[in-house]
């Protein structure tokens, strides 16, 4: 008979107490496994979403974190806007002058290229207008370039695909400027499909509905990004919605205060046979998603510095902001949760200690008998420690299975919410520490009763 079997028999002898202690340890380990799984999902979700396919977000001066949260995750309240003319500074080549001629309106120094155009050859800048809602989901006014140019996924190389329909167009014969694409989760929750007409509400989820209706022409395939939870509408249509154009008196006042001279053009929409577009001086954007051309690393750093020296706007690096947020907010919370669950395991270890220690008085005679049969003191100590380790490991294995079982059951929901799969065997690196950690904890917990057993007076307990 080996010592483990003797320890196992001792556990069986105190069946209920042993099982309750195992259950307590199992609960602690289940919590650790679930917290690690949640931490993994949160971290992976943030890391995935930091691969957004662009290097810089440009927006109004303020908190770069808020700009990032607002633009990448559609969280927090929308930040202030920047003029559309500022967005045109990022057009490569003669894009700025061409856009002025095409859209029309008033603009300062309309005949020069964009200030940042030299960085943009081979890159792109996508405008984003935020502030409206479709049910609880954010509405994003943008251009068809959003889905044509941006990528997602861990490596930032996955193209957006449509499970139904197509990308919206800047102008279509059947829907004019009022086409929309909807994220997978927003579509399923709002129960809309291609061909449906939707009307965003202004300012907040319960805000007043705009009169204009957009026709859904595409449903995005699930991406596991916040874009699954948004409605994307054509920016030209967005501008024609009530309260989305800058009031003319405000424009006039700003132009007067600037003391600058402005060129003016009617735009080409009418001559192209298109409905009128909102003039440039009445347009604003919430953010500009910028990927400079060439080897964008150096260009992006230069561009970010140059923009931030300017008083008109700020540039934020989403990767850096997300990494900062992870290290400043998310990781400390994850750590605190982990510490709490480890405390639960510690309490379970103390339960093992109390359970075995309390049984010592009724076991002294058995220990004395084993000693009388020739068991050395260190053998008795090892038997008690083995019992403690058996209880903890049994609890640990049950807890691990329970934790991963719960994760697997919750997997479809987690995948629906985050796009991240959590399988039964999705194992966090830290979990490899669990069993050695539990064994150490059990040895620590078993030491006090084990030494009590070690000191058992054989003669007295045999005679008792």
């Amino acid at each position: 008979m080996n010592l483990l079997l003797i320890a196992w028999r001792n556990m069986q002898q105190r069946g209920l107490s042993s099982w309750l202690t195992i259950f307590s340890m199992a609960l602690g380990v289940t919590l650790v496994v679930i917290v690690l799984a949640i931490s993994g999902v949160v971290t992976e979700s943030f890391q995935r979403n930091s691969s957004v396919g662009y290097n810089i977000i440009v927006g109004a001066k303020g908190s770069p974190l808020q700009l990032t949260l607002n633009t990448v995750f559609y969280l927090s309240r929308p930040v202030e806007n920047v003029p559309y003319s500022y967005f045109l500074e990022f057009q490569p080549g003669t894009g700025r002058q061409d856009a002025f001629k095409k859209i029309g309106g008033r603009m300062h120094e309309a005949d020069r290229p964009g200030r940042y155009s030299r960085y943009m050859a081979g890159g792109f800048a996508v405008p984003v207008c935020l502030g409206d809602y479709f049910g609880p989901f954010r509405v994003v006014g943008t251009t068809p370039d959003f889905f044509a140019n941006l990528r997602y996924g861990e490596a930032g190389d996955m193209e957006y695909k449509f499970s139904e329909g197509r990308n919206f167009q800047e102008y279509s014969q059947e829907n004019g400027y009022f086409e929309a694409v909807i994220g997978s989760r927003a579509a399923s929750e709002m129960k809309v499909k291609v061909g449906d007409k939707v009307s965003p509400s202004h300012g907040n989820p319960d805000g007043e509905g705009h009169g204009e209706k957009f026709t859904i022409v595409g449903v995005l395939a699930p991406t596991g990004t916040p874009n699954d939870r948004a409605l994307f509408i054509n920016m030209e249509g967005f501008y024609w919605m009530d309260k989305h154009s800058k009031p003319l008196d405000e424009v006039a006042k700003a132009e007067k205060e600037s003391g600058l001279t402005y060129a003016e053009t009617p735009g080409t929409a009418e001559s192209d046979g298109l409905p009128a577009k909102l003039p440039i001086h009445q347009r604003e954007v919430t953010a500009i998603l910028v990927k400079p051309g060439g080897e964008s690393g150096i260009f992006a750093a230069n561009m970010e510095r140059t923009i931030n020296e300017n008083l008109q706007a700020q540039a934020a690096s989403p990767v850096r902001e997300i990494a900062n947020m992870l290290s400043m907010f998310v990781q400390p919370v994850q750590f605190a949760l982990l510490v709490l669950t480890i405390m639960v395991c510690l309490v379970s270890a103390i339960a093992i200690l109390v359970s075995i220690y309390n049984s010592m008085s009724e076991r002294r005679r058995d220990i004395a008998v084993m000693r009388a049969l020739g068991a050395r003191r260190d053998v008795v100590l090892a038997i008690i420690l083995a019992e403690s380790v058996l209880i903890a490991v049994a609890g640990g294995v049950i807890g691990w299975l329970l934790g991963h079982g719960i994760s697997a059951i919750a997997s479809p929901w987690v995948e629906d919410q985050t796009g991240i799969q959590v399988g039964f065997l999705t194992i966090n690196t830290w979990e490899w520490m669990l069993i050695p950690g539990i064994v150490l904890l059990a040895i620590g917990a078993g030491l006090i009763p084990a030494f009590s057993a070690y000191r058992t007076d054989v003669s007295r307990n045999l005679s008792a």
Partner: protein, 226 residues
């Protein structure tokens, strides 16, 4: 000679201070295979003497030579090893471990002894004591007489050189008493094991070839008598 006890003295502390002497045995010798009974009344120090011979308790003075090994010069670990290898012990209250089956109780002695898990010998011993069909029964499922027979089998598991039996029939009904004594004596004889049995029952003692009265052995009792 398997056992030679010389000038053993043992005192115990009193709760209020001071000590009380229990044992003062000038000599006790037992030959290999010899069967001896220690006859004496309760409180005469019989169990203490057995504990000292088994190395469970250490004497204040004196020498115990067990199969040529001086027990009083050994560490506690050393005494544990000698006990496991050379001694068998049958307790008055059986002292079977309740969570273990009959077979496991017998194998337990082997685990702490030579470390060899000789299931065949354990099974054969249980068959020898008439419990071949009760190998996997827990003590609580067996009668008192059957429990004591397991404890005899356990004591013999390691092929000891000396078997100590402390009032082995005190808790057994009259019908089973003689069976237990016969069992112990016969198996000791078969395996050439020396036997020291402690009892206060004169009728039982008279069956043994050698009777040592504790009053004659222990000077403390002689002094009390005077």
């Amino acid at each position: 000679m398997i056992l030679e006890v010389t000038n053993i003295q043992k005192s115990f502390p009193l709760p209020g201070g001071g000590t009380v002497q229990i044992l003062d045995v000038p000599q006790l010798k037992v030959d290999s295979g010899e069967q001896t009974v220690l006859l004496g009344q309760s409180g005469g120090g019989k169990t203490t003497l057995l504990h000292i011979i088994a190395g469970i308790t250490t004497p204040d003075k004196g020498s115990i030579l067990l199969d040529g090994i001086e027990l009083t010069k050994l560490s506690e670990q050393g005494r544990d090893r000698v006990r496991a290898a050379k001694l068998g012990y049958v307790f008055q209250t059986f002292n079977l471990l309740p969570g273990f089956t009959a077979l496991e109780n017998v194998r337990l002695g082997m685990t702490f002894g030579n470390g060899k898990h000789d299931i065949t010998r354990a099974t054969r011993l249980l068959e020898r004591v008439g419990l071949g069909d009760r190998l996997h029964y827990k003590p609580s499922q067996l009668s008192v007489g059957q429990q004591q027979r397991i404890s005899v089998a356990r004591a013999l598991a390691n092929r000891p050189r000396l078997l100590l039996a402390d009032e082995p029939t005190a808790n057994v009904d009259a019908a089973n008493q003689q069976k237990i004594i016969d069992l112990i004596r016969e198996t000791c004889q078969e395996e050439q094991i020396a036997l020291i049995m402690v009892t206060h029952d004169l009728k039982l003692a008279q069956q043994f070839p050698r009777i040592e009265r504790l009053e004659d052995l222990n000077r403390v009792l002689q002094a009390v008598a005077k």
